[in-house]
């Protein structure tokens, strides 16, 4: 391992990630019934990188592959094809370096399911650092509890004694205990009420500033993403269709799907939408550009060829289209 080039390369690099789920019936059953193989293409050739201390948000509808990518990055789903590097080192190697520096931690959506109900909070938060001497570990747990806005004495309580927002604070404390510099957050506030969501989002931003954390942030809520993200990747049927700095995605989307997502956000400024149809099944994706059956700008080539991902967008007509952003939407509403 070299010492110096850390700053020169992105903190996290994901290249050509692919993940297919085989949903076919068994071979014999297929022989008997004459059924065909069913492959769910959850992730198709996804590449992106995240700079140190930044928040990269993945947005998209259900079934677009957001959670599969998160689970692969966190090591919960084995990598089928593709390469994940942290500080330029393949993830497995990075993990092997030393036991106390787990490189990636995850914060889950449902704080009622992600904490073991039979463990005390102190044990939950101390789990990633269980190799440390008990005294050191207890000090660290107390420190972390204070850091996320709880009390040191809370270590002796069980998860059921806390509200949803407090449990998400515990989950965040656990993800920080081993000093992981990279957190994968899968819909961390979707299960929370808005006032509690505000507390958790503010806490996450504050911790990021304090420790220079890197976040992969997954959400279907574009307003939440606007508040948190520095970079945004838009997923459609397992493919990245656009990647850009957050402000640019909202002011000048380049992919028609990105624009459709922005138009669909409910609010006073929303126009009566021209949104067509629903996302097709990832088992039988359309030919050519996966978005073409719903795209208002479709031309012949879109039906035949999958557009290459170039200069931040995967659209045959990206250079000629001028798509309105949210600023136009507000101006028109006035």
């Amino acid at each position: 391992m070299t010492e110096s080039p850390r700053a020169a390369e992105p903190h996290v690099t994901v290249s050509h990630l692919r993940h297919h789920f085989d949903l076919s019936a068994g071979r014999l059953a297929r022989l008997v019934s004459g059924g065909e193989r069913k492959i769910l293409r959850a992730v198709e050739d996804v590449s992106f990188s995240i700079e140190r201390g930044e928040t990269f948000a993945l947005v998209g509808e259900s079934g677009s592959g957001k959670t599969t990518i998160a689970r692969i990055l966190a090591g919960l789903t084995p990598t089928q094809l593709g390469d994940i590097r942290i500080d330029g080192l393949p993830v497995g190697a990075a993990r092997g370096r030393s036991a106390d520096s787990a490189e990636i931690q995850m914060v889950f959506q449902d704080p009622y399911a992600s904490l073991n109900p039979r463990w005390k909070v102190g044990r939950i938060i101390g789990e990633p650092i269980r190799h440390l001497p008990a005294e050191e570990r207890d000090t660290r747990v107390a420190e972390l509890l204070e850091l996320v806005g709880l009390h040191a004495q809370d270590a002796a309580k069980y998860p059921h004694q806390f509200s949803g927002g407090q449990r998400q604070r515990i989950a965040i404390a656990r993800s920080l205990s081993a000093n992981a510099p990279f957190l994968v957050c899968d819909e961390p506030t979707s299960a929370l009420d808005v006032s509690v969501q505000a507390q958790i989002l503010n806490l996450m931003r504050q911790l990021q500033g304090q420790f220079g954390l890197t976040y992969l942030f997954i959400s279907h809520n574009l307003a939440v993403v606007r508040y948190m993200a520095t970079q945004i990747g838009v997923l459609y049927l397992g493919r990245l269709v656009e990647v850009a700095p957050a402000a640019r995605i909202f002011s000048a989307p380049r992919h028609p799907y990105t624009q459709m997502l922005l138009e669909a956000v409910p609010g006073r400024e929303r126009r009566g939408t021209a949104i067509k149809g629903e996302m097709p099944s990832p088992i039988t994706p359309p030919t050519g550009c996966p978005f073409h059956p719903r795209c208002p700008h479709v031309v012949d080539i879109c039906r035949r060829e999958v557009p290459a991902f170039q200069r931040g967008v995967a659209c045959h007509r990206a250079d000629e289209l001028q798509l309105p952003g949210t600023a136009e939407r507000e101006a028109e509403a006035l």
Partner: protein, 350 residues
């Protein structure tokens, strides 16, 4: 359809910005509604003197956090509260007819016919063993006395109206053969098939993706406009409220703390709780400042504080907030339950 929001709102909302409708003209008028749950330790008050009304063709959004009582209000209006819960006081008037004391049998004829209902999960309203056409025809048979054949024909028309593609085929589909968005369209068709005066929609788009949600919201707005149906829209999502509601009611710990036109409440809320709630919601514009945090959490029903139930979390609270319960006060076209707005409030409190 590329109508601008403003135009869309103008057509759906003849009452936008207007004061509350009087009981004679209102589609729904609720006065001092109290709902209690009997427990071993005595009754728990889950709704505490809730009053509001909805004009014909108007969409009233009811917003609040989990446990504030918004769904319960909808259940009380449709008289679906089960023991140990009960309506312990107040009056509910549906288009000039008092319904809170009607016997069960008579209420059953009103529910589904004059009050339509839409819930978050379409499968709670659909029977998985019957085709959607059968379910629509049955509902119209019960409430409109429509025959099987006529019912089926009407079902095809209704599916077409709610935007189900190829309705003459889909009328024979079972619920599991439809996507979530399509199922919710069928539920909307069921809710409106007997031409009710009022639709109660409880989180109708919460389980849907944002693009499908936009389609369903447009559909609900169109139905209220075309049929003059009133709607009580219960949701935790202020974006959804701002999208289609004419007026909005904010609930906190079983009480209605503020009610007024959607634009006024979202842009310039009066009650400190609604103000905090609006500031806590991220928006598509970058405001460049942290989200507003309301300290603490909503109290349990068994431990509602004296005086104003929000006072322990309120940064504007003064002595009287801890002892006297604030009654709803008229401020312009709004009503707000907060001591800051009566004459006895300290000069500098607001």
């Amino acid at each position: 359809m590329t109508v601008h929001a403003s135009a869309r709102r103008a057509t759906t909302a003849p009452h936008a910005g207007a004061a509350e409708p009087g009981p004679a003209t209102a589609a729904l008028d609720v006065r001092d509604l109290v709902v209690e749950f009997d427990t071993d330790d005595g009754p728990l008050r889950a709704l505490d003197h809730v009053s509001f009304s909805i004009a014909r063709g108007e969409v009233l959004g009811v917003v609040g956090e989990s446990g504030a009582g918004k769904s319960l209000t909808g259940m009380a209006v449709s008289r679906m509260i089960q023991p140990p819960g009960r309506i312990a006081g107040g009056e509910i008037w549906l288009a000039g007819k008092r319904i809170d004391q009607l016997p069960r049998g008579e209420m059953r004829r009103i529910r589904g016919k004059r009050i339509g209902m839409i819930f978050q999960d379409p499968m709670t309203s659909l029977n998985p063993l019957f085709t959607v056409g059968d379910q629509l025809a049955e509902t119209m048979g019960v409430h409109l006395g429509m025959g099987r054949k006529a019912g089926r024909r009407r079902a095809v028309d209704l599916l077409d109206e709610v935007g189900v593609p190829s309705p003459s085929d889909r009328v024979d589909a079972y619920p599991h053969e439809l996507s979530g968005g399509m199922r919710q369209r069928v539920v909307i068709a069921l809710a409106m098939c007997a031409e009710p005066e009022l639709i109660i929609a409880d989180e109708p788009t919460t389980a849907l993706d944002v693009a499908v949600q936009a389609q369903i919201l447009d559909l609900l707005a169109r139905i209220c406009r075309d049929h003059g149906t009133s709607m009580m829209l219960v949701t935790h999502d202020m974006g959804v409220i701002a999208d289609i509601a004419d007026r909005v009611a904010v609930m906190y710990a079983g009480r209605m703390v503020e009610i007024g036109s959607c634009a006024e409440v979202t842009d310039a809320a009066l009650h400190p709780y609604s103000r905090g709630l609006m500031g806590a919601i991220p928006t598509l514009e970058d405001r460049g400042q942290p989200l507003v945090q309301i300290p603490g959490t909503m109290p349990r029903l068994s431990a509602i504080p004296d005086g104003c139930s929000f006072h322990p979390r309120c940064d504007k609270a003064f002595a009287r907030c801890r002892t006297d319960r604030p009654e709803p006060l008229a401020v312009g076209d709004r009503r707000v339950a907060c001591h800051l707005y009566d004459d006895l409030a300290p000069e500098d409190a607001q």
